[in-house]
């Protein structure tokens, strides 16, 4: 029962927030300088007079603002996020088509950042004043400060020109099309540099976080008890201390999905990765507003999904928190 109430509340909250994003989109279209119809058509979309007139009727631009909002919301609910005159395609299809590539990139980067970051943090916490620990600290500061697109460009320069051993453009080899397992390997190879670039920033943050929390955990009573019981060190660290180290990292990682996505926009632009980020870049360049607005909406949706997942993982890792009894 508690679980049902909790879930219902979560879903209602999510629906309200998504509605608010749509209202925000609507307000932005009307606040932007120029005629809303130009915004809806996209400035450089090359919409003809007929199209403009059709849009005016479709979005009810001669009606009151409230009626226009109702029309806009009704369109979205039926899956109509507008039409991209630059791509000559409905926006929804455009976004959904690019979504998988972005999800590969972000999930690959996120998982490797969590694993590598936690590993670095845990190892450096064993000797907080040792050489390795200091190296990790310096690396995490540098990783935080380096602009992600710049790191990407450096890697592109290194592996595209100085030492060309990895593909730096696109998602697969378009000249020599591959099949089956070879295709998967090809994509994995193309994925390497973009996901490394994206992961570096987060490895920097998670290693720092894991280091601090591991140092705290290692001085806690339960670790002393576990050692006193004569448990091997790897069990003490790997099982007892790690669990408490992971909780803050997972929370931060889950709630940073928005940053991860924004990072993906920049990384995809550097490496011409055909995902939503690349779509954002193209729509900015062409002033393709409907696409841009739809991406904003879907990114908010993904952020909420990530928060929801974090909530679940968090409850799984930390048995002290159970549904409904916080």
């Amino acid at each position: 029962m508690a679980l049902a109430i909790h879930l219902t509340r979560q879903i209602a909250n999510a629906a309200a927030l998504l509605l608010a994003v749509l209202v925000l989109n609507f307000c932005l279209i009307h606040l932007a300088p120029g005629d809303p119809v130009q915004v809806i058509a996209g400035e450089m979309g090359g919409a003809s007079a007929d199209v403009i007139a059709a849009l005016r009727t479709k979005y009810g631009l001669d009606h009151s603002l409230m009626e226009q909002l109702a029309i806009y919301l009704r369109n979205v609910v039926t899956g109509d996020f507008g039409y991209s005159y630059y791509f000559n395609e409905p926006v929804l299809g455009l976004v959904l088509q690019r979504l998988p590539a972005t999800l590969y990139l972000t999930s690959c980067a996120l998982v490797s950042a969590l694993v590598v970051g936690t590993f670095l943090g845990v190892v450096s916490a064993r000797r907080p004043n040792g050489l390795f620990s200091h190296t990790v600290t310096v690396f995490s500061l540098a990783g935080y400060a380096a602009p992600i697109f710049w790191t990407g460009l450096m890697l592109l320069l290194l592996f595209g020109s100085v030492w060309p051993i990895l593909p730096v453009v696109g998602m697969s080899d378009v000249v020599h099309r591959k099949q089956g397992l070879n295709y998967v390997l090809d994509v994995a190879q193309h994925l390497l540099l973009p996901s490394l670039t994206l992961a570096l920033v987060f490895i920097a943050q998670y290693s720092r976080l894991a280091r601090v929390n591991m140092i705290d955990a290692l001085s806690a009573d339960y670790v002393r008890t576990a050692r006193a019981k004569g448990l091997p060190e790897w069990v003490v660290i790997g099982k007892h201390a790690l669990r408490n180290t992971l909780i803050p990292t997972v929370t931060v990682a889950g709630h940073q999905f928005g940053n991860l996505f924004a990072g993906a926009v920049l990384v995809e632009t550097v490496f011409s990765w055909p995902g939503m980020g690349r779509l954002v870049f193209d729509s900015i360049l062409r002033r393709d507003y409907p696409t841009l607005m739809a991406v904003l909406f879907f990114s908010a949706l993904m952020v909420m999904a990530a928060n929801f997942l974090t909530d679940i993982v968090y409850r799984l890792i930390d048995p002290r928190i159970r549904m409904g009894q916080r």
């Binding site: 927030l17 608010a20 994003v21 925000l24 932005l28 606040l31 932007a32 300088p33 915004v39 500061l141 540098a142 935080y144 400060a145 380096a146 602009p147 992600i148 697109f149 710049w150 460009l153 450096m154 592109l156 320069l157 595209g160 020109s161 601090v212 140092i215 705290d216 709630h255 999905f257 928005g258 940053n259 996505f261 924004a262 990072g263 926009v265 920049l266 632009t269 550097v270 954002v280 870049f281 900015i284 360049l285 002033r287 507003y289 841009l292 607005m293 991406v295 904003l296 990114s299 908010a300 952020v303 909420m304 928060n307």
Partner: protein, 301 residues
């Protein structure tokens, strides 16, 4: 009584406190800050960058928007750091561009902190319905990826430097608001605040004179880090072609030259390096400040 107390005080100060040692909270924090090597390194680096952008134009008299030579000239004696894809001097771009980049960073961070302080303090101080509404608003802004939201704003409202600054400031205030709210809620129930309230202090007085000064240390650190984030955002926006084309900035140099990276690496590497060093310096200062004014966290660093 007074004759008894006076000598005691003199003895204490003679033993424990060498002459003219600062004892104000700010003075103590300053001394703590100067003890942290990373903070001092960061401060020196930041000072160097700021002085460079202020004094540089008087020493290196080249207009950053002038075409001084052929495009893609490598670094040599004519143009110390080479020329970009149009033939503009890269070093001049770095010197002048730093002014715009740092200014955008500082002003955007100020906007971020101002919004965060306003929302967070109202929310934490009044609680109840005000809190519920403001927390909902904060929650709403949290689900929009800040950089993406800034991209949408700048695309819609035009890429003028002022628009860019406001857009960056307007999207990233949520963490400052949450921090301020938590600080206000923690302080609200402490005895000295209750005492002020009992003494008849108005809400305004309590918020501005009693709670705000005590919440500031936590906020100052987050304000410092906000400058770094804003500089990275400016870079990211310019990189995507949303920079102000009329004002030279580090991000603009990167964004305009990135397609020619194989022809002229210097026009991309140096501006990126400048952003990197500036953000590094700022986060080092932020770390140092954190150690100095948030003593509860000191042992963890």
């Amino acid at each position: 009584m007074t004759t008894l107390e006076a000598p005691t005080l003199t003895i204490v100060s003679a033993i424990d406190m060498p002459a003219r040692r600062a004892t104000s909270p700010a003075g103590i924090a300053m001394r703590q800050f100067l003890k942290s090597p990373s903070g001092v390194v960061g401060l020196c680096l930041l000072a160097l960058i700021i002085v460079g952008t202020l004094v540089g134009p008087h020493l290196y008299r080249v207009d950053p928007l002038d075409l001084v030579g052929a495009p893609f000239m490598p670094p040599d004696s004519d143009a110390w750091l080479g020329t970009d894809y149009l033939g503009r001097d890269v070093l001049a771009g770095l010197i002048y561009g730093g002014r715009a980049t740092l200014a955008v960073g500082a002003v955007a961070a100020l906007i971020t902190i101002a919004i965060g302080l306003l929302i967070g303090s109202l929310s934490g101080f009044f609680g109840g319905v005000v809190d519920v509404v403001l927390v909902k608003i904060t929650e709403f802004f949290q689900i929009l990826p800040p950089l993406l939201f800034a991209m949408v704003l700048v695309t819609l409202f035009g890429s003028k430097l002022s628009t860019i600054t406001v857009a960056i400031g307007a999207v990233s205030w949520t963490s400052a608001a949450r921090l301020t709210r938590a600080e206000f809620m923690r302080l609200r129930d402490l005895d000295f605040v209750k005492a002020s309230r009992a003494a008849g202090a108005s809400d305004r007085h309590l918020m501005l004179r009693v709670l705000l000064p005590n919440a500031l240390p936590a906020v100052i650190v987050s304000a410092t880090l906000a400058i770094g984030v804003a500089i990275l955002f400016e870079g990211g926006l310019s990189f995507l072609g949303l920079g102000d084309p009329n004002v030279m900035s580090w991000g603009l140099m990167l964004g305009q030259n990135r397609n020619y990276i194989l022809d002229a690496w210097w026009a991309v590497i140096f501006p990126g390096m400048a952003i990197f060093l500036a953000v590094l310096a700022i986060s080092l200062v932020g770390d140092g400040l954190n150690d100095a004014i948030n003593p509860r966290l000191r042992r963890r660093s």
